[in-house]
Assembly symmetry: C2
Homo-oligomer: 385 residues x 2
């Protein structure tokens, strides 16, 4: 008796494995989880408490989410993402992750191919495998700031290709795809009749002169883009597990057939928290962005002092970066992360978790206080001395 090939082929999540290992040590400097160390803003917590007190959170909501929440999301998509969205084009999901899983399952059949640009969030690759699809990994070009190699992407398209999964701002590199690049992706999708599934979880965390752009806002892309967003990153609400996806109504009807057997609906208390997030002041996002930008700058400065050991692309977005490890103190990135944990008590995520060309890298999260960054880098400096 054997579990399925689809799960047997999967390695344990390196992210969760590092968390587990990190717990074996005291006083670890933690740069390995994409979980903001700030708490959920008070007005969001208060709205959740009020909803419980009013008795609104006991029973299921509509599978696609509370109507008021979907109306607010449609407004947000119009205003912030320039997407002509309607409430009927939205499903509220268990974070971005369930949105991605349900979308992939709705789009592909066993044997279908999905193009992913690596290094990327490993769970996207896993989700394709769980749907018995074939992930086709096309490397981003690190030498030019992890930009897409469109020639290689076009070459990788076959008759079995059903979709391209994008992640912008990208986890783990912190790079963003520009409007021009996304227009090129749109043309490729149209020419080859492909879907685009785009994870925009870090949409608000974009720094310097960079701008976040949503591919679903490009005219003519309405029928082929599924856009995925989440409250969990924007409002420091990872524990609340609430996100959403936008697509046209035909696609929504199909994705809902997966969303219901995966979750029925999102916890109603989290949906009320999300309503408060959209209705309340958006200053919390600005504050988080400023904090993360400062933290990024600090992390880059600390890395600059270690330029014999690390080489990096400065993140334009997200709260993650993906330095290359230049020296050979360990056989591979997982061994390196384990070594750094053991010797320096710094927890990082091994690059291999993000695709084969993530090897010889580590992912570092800068959604942590300056103290944590300094503590980690003081220890890394000692480790190299």
């Amino acid at each position: 008796m054997q579990t399925s090939n689809r799960v047997n082929q999967l390695k344990k999540s390196a992210i969760h494995e590092m968390t587990r290992l990190s717990k074996q040590y005291d006083d670890v400097a933690f740069l390995s989880w994409a979980k903001p160390s700030s708490g959920t803003p008070a007005h969001i917590n208060e709205a959740a408490i009020k909803a419980i007190q009013k008795g609104l959170t006991s029973g299921y909501s509509q599978a696609e989410g509370l109507p008021e929440l979907r109306e607010l999301i449609a407004e947000k998509l119009k205003h912030d993402n320039k997407i002509k969205a309607k409430a009927s084009e939205i499903i509220v999901t268990v974070g971005a992750i369930e949105a991605m899983a349900a979308s992939v399952t709705a789009i592909i059949d066993p044997g279908d191919e999905v193009i992913l640009l690596t290094p990327t969030y490993s769970t996207h690759i896993t989700q394709v495998k769980l749907a018995s699809g074939i992930p086709v990994l096309v490397p981003l070009n690190e030498n030019i700031g992890f930009e897409p190699d469109f020639e290689a992407i076009v070459k990788s398209i076959t008759k079995k290709t059903k979709a391209i999964i994008l992640c912008t701002p990208n986890n783990p590199t912190g790079t963003i795809f520009s409007e021009d690049e996304l227009k090129t992706f749109a043309k490729i999708a149209q020419k080859n009749d492909l879907y685009i599934i785009v994870d925009e979880a870090y949409e608000y965390f974009v720094y310097d002169k960079h701008k976040h752009f949503s591919i679903a806002s490009i005219p003519g892309m309405e029928d082929r883009v599924i856009s995925v967003y989440t409250f969990t990153k924007s409002y420091a609400m990872t524990g609340w597990r609430v996100g959403y996806l936008h697509a046209n109504e035909n696609l929504i009807a199909q994705i809902k057939k997966v969303h219901i057997p995966f979750a029925i609906c999102v916890p109603v208390v989290s949906q009320y928290a999300a309503i408060a997030a959209l209705k309340g002041s958006q200053n919390c996002i600005t504050n988080f962005r400023n904090e993360y930008q400062n933290a990024r700058n600090l992390m880059c400065e600390r890395l600059d002092c270690l330029d014999e050991h690390f080489q990096y692309v400065k993140p334009a977005g997200s709260y993650l970066m993906f330095p290359k490890v230049l020296d050979n103190r360990a056989d591979n990135s997982f061994e390196f992360s384990k070594l750094l944990l053991k010797e320096a008590k710094v927890s990082t995520t091994p690059g291999i978790a993000f695709g084969p060309n993530g090897e010889n890298h580590v992912r570092l999260s800068f959604c942590v206080p300056d103290d944590m960054i300094n503590k980690a880098f003081d220890r890394i400096e000692r480790f190299y001395k």
Copy 2:
């Protein structure tokens, strides 16, 4: 450009479709959703509020759930289900539904067969299809109280059969599998090297002299049973979306590879609510059970007065029943449910939603106040006059 065959083949959920249609009318008597009309007990709500106030709900928990919650669940499984459970053998899930979806995905590959006994909860059938598996539907024998037909079950096993999905107490029939019947299932599974995935969502709602029995408590079944439970039904917490599964550690490791890409973790606020549910007085369950038993008796009495039109098996468990519609006022069960909604303003779930042999039945929920049952049946009586 087409979505996947696996979703294209699926019809819209009849349950959710009836909900949608019901909203087009005012003052509907609602017997169609398996959602208790009572609210979540106050002490559970209060614990959730306290967890928010203490700042415990902002960030992810461990993917498998809070350690304290899993310890409490292990105790409950030992005490109530006679399963020798450890906290490391548990994953907290987004209701029973995500537990079932993750288990099926972890067990089967495309083309694998799964036996289901119909009428049964349609989502179980859908989950097999979403995993590109083949649901093999074996009818329960209505003439002997929807009992399993073991000869037919054994005959339906092929080399491709990977698992049997059971639901006890059964949604929609309200029947339960006895200890003897479950021992027979266990023998069949052992002889044919099959997994058993069992949905015990309604474990506490068992009436008269009937007893709930957990197949995982049978010695020798440790390696092949995945048992699924939920707080949502036991504690009137459907909106909180928190359930769990139990299996041996090897299976847990494989199912976790699906749980993470489906949900990452269950909303932490719901996990704190679940801790309070297990730690607090269990009187609420006793009260719910008594309420449902009285409601069941009332519904049966009202059906007895309509014995020209309905024939039913008295439910031994759950808060659902599945009467057969004897007259032919509509072409099929969906048309009948729509007719009853339009003419009598009573919302029911069409039997076809629970497998082909559910045709000519309706599912009625008795997790509603007596007033609602009486109102619905007064209207049904007028409908037939």
